[in-house]
Symmetry: C2
Subunit: 279 residues, 2 copies
């Protein structure tokens, strides 16, 4: 698999790392980067994540056989509509957004039948952002979930699968809905939980030890990215918050009733689950 | 400051690390360790955290001029009563329990006027435990909160202060209640939050990325230790849970109402607070 021209839209942590890895693996004759800021493009070029940069979406995507949308979610949907007229027949499009149902539904609407979109979510985020944080091996061993909708073309799915695998990911395929339900509990809820732990502790942060630091590290993430995530995965995030609140109330009641056995059981089952994760 | 005999009760991560640091700094002529398991004592002696070990509390504390209670909270209170008759006049006693009001109240009751107790909480925990995890520099730069109650003797407070400083801690002094209120939000609530995040995510842990791992790392902690913590800091933990639930409900409502500006503000203020913590 080798592409003549890959266009990466959004030269940040994810877009930059995709460029670095794709170049390392020789997956493209040319990689063109496009984003809103000249500065990021210069930096992406300097670290060799892209061969050239442009502020012009049309120029970036024309003639590309693979387009990667690596911007915050609301921009993915907006930009897909803007570039649609300029994509060549047979062009493959993928993305790196953290929610999938809304993106897949909206993006599939704007592309005509000869453009194939396969949504992707590499679970390689960090509280950091920007192309200065990009790394060639960011995706090494990282899980990447590809979406399979009713409109997904199997040949395109396999090519996109090969691409993400080639840059290091372990790939699995899910429906956009199954993806969103899983990440609501394993990524989005933990994020909201960390954000509100910081708020509750705000007056006493000078007493924070390593446990607090680890638990709340992700609260340093970008506000715009996370607002988009919340608003494009509302149903499953609200379900997750509701279950979480119910469980916190259960703990509260065990404490209130001095139920040492009940508390101990909660801690033990959580410990078993969490210990298993470390292996 | 040099002690003739230090008795460390509980040869685990904390007790073992205290022994290692005290020996490194030459703070005692002899350090005696006591705990429930011969195996831990042998290991503590092998790594030179103690000079000798015994299963007999009386033997350990007789003649000691400093006794350190480094067991789970419920045992600190129980053991204080058991050793009280054997402590020599002028003996100093400190502990390393994670809550303070209950310990200080109970322990001050069982010691007669010529024994001085000063509660301590070095914020150096970890999800790990056992003397095999002990390290000489565990307390280096670690915050240690000493308790100052109405019964605290100032001369004893200063000597205990010097001891914790000598093994590496930054020491501050608070009332037991002020301590418990602070750690409820900065340590206990984050712990309960992590435990229940693991429970909510239990069916999808194979999708966990680094964010989830960091956020829930402390859920691997010991169940008995944490049951004791919850039951000896009930009032402030319940207050913290209630504020946390109220804040999670606020996030839920912002999401439900598609309030992007409100959400973004929540994320931004949390990010500012958390970013400041990294400096």
């Amino acid at each position: 698999m080798k592409f003549k021209k890959i266009a990466i839209i959004g030269a940040g942590l994810i877009g930059g790392s995709i460029g670095l890895a794709a170049k390392r693996k020789g997956l493209a004759r040319e990689i063109v980067g496009v984003c809103r800021h000249q500065k990021s493009l210069r930096q992406a070029k300097r670290i060799k994540a892209i061969d050239r940069g442009t502020l012009n979406y049309r120029e970036a995507v024309e003639g590309a056989d693979l387009v990667i949308l690596a911007t915050p979610i609301s921009q993915i949907i907006k930009i897909a509509g803007e570039i649609a007229p300029y994509l060549k027949k047979g062009c493959l499009v993928t993305d790196a957004g953290s929610t999938k149902s809304k993106i897949v539904a909206e993006v599939e609407k704007v592309f005509s039948g000869d453009i194939a979109f396969v949504g992707a979510h590499p679970l390689a985020g960090s509280e950091k952002r920007g192309v200065s944080e990009a790394r060639t091996n960011l995706f090494k061993g990282t899980l990447c979930i590809l979406t399979k909708s009713r409109k997904t073309k199997l040949a395109a799915l396999e090519k996109i699968n090969s691409f993400w695998q080639a840059i290091g990911c372990r790939v699995i395929k899910l429906t956009p809905q199954a993806h969103d339900q899983i990440v609501a509990v394993i990524s989005h809820l933990p994020h909201l939980a960390a954000v509100q732990l910081v708020k509750v502790g705000r007056k006493n942060l000078n007493f924070a030890a390593s446990g607090f630091r680890d638990t709340t590290r992700i609260a340093s993430s970008d506000a715009e990215v996370w607002s988009d995530i919340c608003l494009t995965n509302k149903k499953f995030i609200i379900q997750a918050i509701d279950e979480y609140i119910a469980r916190l109330k259960l703990m509260r009641n065990l404490i209130s009733k001095d139920d040492k056995r009940g508390l101990s059981l909660e801690f033990k089952t959580a410990k078993s689950l969490r210990d298993a994760l470390q292996k």
